[in-house]
Structure formats: structure tokens, C-alpha cells
Amino acid sequence: MNTFFLLALSLLIIILPCYLFRAIKGPNLFDRLIGLNGIASKSIIFLALLGAMTGQLDMFLDICLGYAALNLVGALAVGKFLEKRKPS
């Protein structure tokens, strides 16, 4: 089962640069924001699988929950702030 978690982690490392590409190259601001959101959710999965691989999942899950809450608050604040702006 440990090997399976390692394989899943390596597949996630292949998936993550796709969102990084969208966050860097996105034509306007919202593309970058949504790429950042994808990176955040992928890193939540990454932390959970890493905790399952090392056998300390309860400690890693607290970090996951904090990361998810931080992502929600940040995205809500930036989205509310950008409602009246022109996309650049």
C-alpha cells in the first residue's frame, strides 16, 4: 500500500505543472487565480497522501484543513475585490 501511495504522489507531481502553466501564462488575472486555486486543491491532496505514506495522517490533516480555509478566504477576498475592475 505504501508503494501505491508513492505512485499516486508521483502522478500528482506530473499533474501539478499543468496548473502552474495556467497560473503563469494565463491571459488575464482570473486565469491565474483559478490556476492558483487548482494548485491549492492539488496540494491538499498531496499533503493527505504524504501523511498516509509516512503514517502520520492526523498531523498532516490539520495542515490540510488550515490550507483549505486559507485558500477559501483568500479567493473570496480577491474575487470580491476584483468585481468592479477591468480584466487586464
Binding site: I15, F30, I34, S41, I45, L57, A69, E83, K84
Partner: protein, 100 residues
């Protein structure tokens, strides 16, 4: 048996995450990209965390995982909705065939 269910759930979640990543690269427009990312990302994350929960059985870890699953299930569509609404209100035009 629980290992088998966990492996199937995690593999399905990784497949959906991969489809979401391909959609984030290949689709032409912000709205379609946010569609791919919001739907596929939520489903993939929920499936992977559910697979971890079925691997660990009934314990404190499963309660924490269930908390994260409920929070993510509420949070990620909200984020996608807020960003898409902000893009639409700030005047971002949807992609259409005439622009080619």
C-alpha cells in the same frame, strides 16, 4: 477488501484530477477552463479523500477526513462561482467562434 476499495477510489480520483489538468491547459476560454477545473477538481479531491477514509476505517483520522471533505465540498464550488462572477461582472467576454 478495504484496501481494494481504497485503491479503486484513489485511482478514480487521480483520473479525474488528470482530466481537470488537461482541461485547464487545453480549453480556449476562462469560463470553460473554470468549468473543467471547478467540477473535475472537486470530484477528484473528494474521491481521493474518500479513498483515504475507507483505507483508515473508523477512527479519529476518518472524522478529520470527513470534516475536510465537507469543507472542501462547500468551499471549492464557492470559489469557482465567486471568481466566475467577478470575471463576468468586470466585463470579460466569453470565447466564441467569431473571434477566430
Amino acid at each position: 477488501m478495504m484496501n481494494f476499495i481504497a485503491i479503486i477510489l484513489i485511482c478514480t480520483g487521480l483520473f479525474f484530477s488528470l482530466v481537470g489538468a488537461i482541461g485547464a491547459i487545453r480549453l480556449p476560454d476562462f469560463y470553460s477552463r473554470s468549468h473543467a477545473l471547478g467540477v473535475m477538481d472537486t470530484l477528484g479531491t473528494l474521491l481521493i479523500l474518500g479513498g483515504l477514509a475507507s483505507y483508515y476505517g473508523l477512527s479519529v483520522v476518518t472524522a478529520k477526513l470527513f470534516m475536510i471533505i465537507m469543507f472542501f465540498y462547500l468551499a471549492n464550488p464557492t470559489i469557482t462561482h465567486v471568481l466566475t462572477r467577478a470575471a463576468f461582472k468586470s466585463g470579460l467576454k466569453p470565447w466564441s467562434q467569431d473571434l477566430l
